[in-house]
């Protein structure tokens, strides 16, 4: 059942993408697009199952999405500062321990979309333990997004 829903989701997204990107929407184009989208959806589901990839739990997702735009703007400012002043051109690796139940996949994508940090390694949560991310961060400040992901209320 779960695989069928996943297949349907992939098919819907791929067909929508095809419909948006083609120049003219005719019944023939839709039929061919629908068939190819189904093939691609079967491939996508097979690859996802083989890789064992999963988005992870939704804990702290709302807080992370809420803080993301500010973090994006604040980190862009910090990057601009680093460009203008060699004194601020510092960075290093550190480990971010996610709050229990937070998905490492979406957390890694959100953190890497900000100029202040990007992910280089993911340690999945095992048996109820929280997952952790190895990040390269610009400077030593902890961003609002990082605090939202770790559950740190500072």
């Amino acid at each position: 059942m779960r695989t069928a829903v996943e297949l349907l989701l992939w098919w819907g997204v791929l067909l929508l993408l095809n419909t948006v990107l083609i120049s003219s929407v005719t019944p023939l184009e839709m039929a061919v697009g629908g068939g190819i989208a189904l093939l691609a959806a079967v491939g996508a589901v097979a690859v996802r199952h083989a890789s064992g990839a999963a988005p992870g739990g939704p804990t702290r997702l709302a807080q992370a999405l809420w803080t993301f735009p500010w973090t994006l703007l604040a980190d862009t400012g910090r990057l601009a500062l680093a460009v203008l002043s060699p004194r601020h051109q510092r960075g290093g690796f550190r480990t971010v321990r996610l709050a229990p139940g937070a998905g490492p996949a979406w957390a890694a994508a959100l953190l890497s979309a900000t100029p202040g940090a990007y992910i280089v390694d993911v340690a999945d949560a095992k048996k109820g333990a929280a997952g952790s991310l190895t990040v390269h961060a610009l400077g030593c400040e902890v961003s609002a997004l990082e605090r939202a992901l770790t559950g740190d209320a500072r």
């Binding site: 862009t76 460009v83 994508a109 890497s112 979309a113």
Partner: protein, 106 residues
């Protein structure tokens, strides 16, 4: 006010110009950071302003300018693909750089 609401208010009040200007600044900052920042790990931070700020805002401004329709949806999809693609590329390049360094040390 949350930044999402701020962005919506900016778009509603000023039209496409603020979005376009902010997007272009993001793209220019990325280009400058790539030139100025030292080392591969610091330089990788330069991708994000272009991928997560510049490209989506330029695509959003163009979509608003195009008006409602499939062409606008196409521009928004392109903006989204650039954002996701840029972010994933940053992670992939970083991981490859680390693995290459570890390989070189052996």
């Amino acid at each position: 006010m949350n930044a999402w609401l701020l962005a919506a208010a900016l778009l509603a009040a000023g039209g496409i110009r603020p979005c376009l200007l902010l997007g272009l600044r993001g793209l220019l900052l990325s280009a400058l950071a790539l030139i100025v920042l030292p080392g591969p790990y610091l330089r990788l931070h330069a991708f994000s302003p272009a991928a997560a700020l510049g490209a989506p805002l330029v695509a959003l401004a163009l979509a608003v300018d195009t008006g409602p329709g499939r062409a606008a949806a196409k521009l928004l999809v392109i903006g989204l693909l650039l954002t996701v693609g840029g972010t994933v590329t940053t992670m992939a390049v970083a991981r490859t750089t680390i693995l290459a360094e570890q390989e070189a040390k052996r």
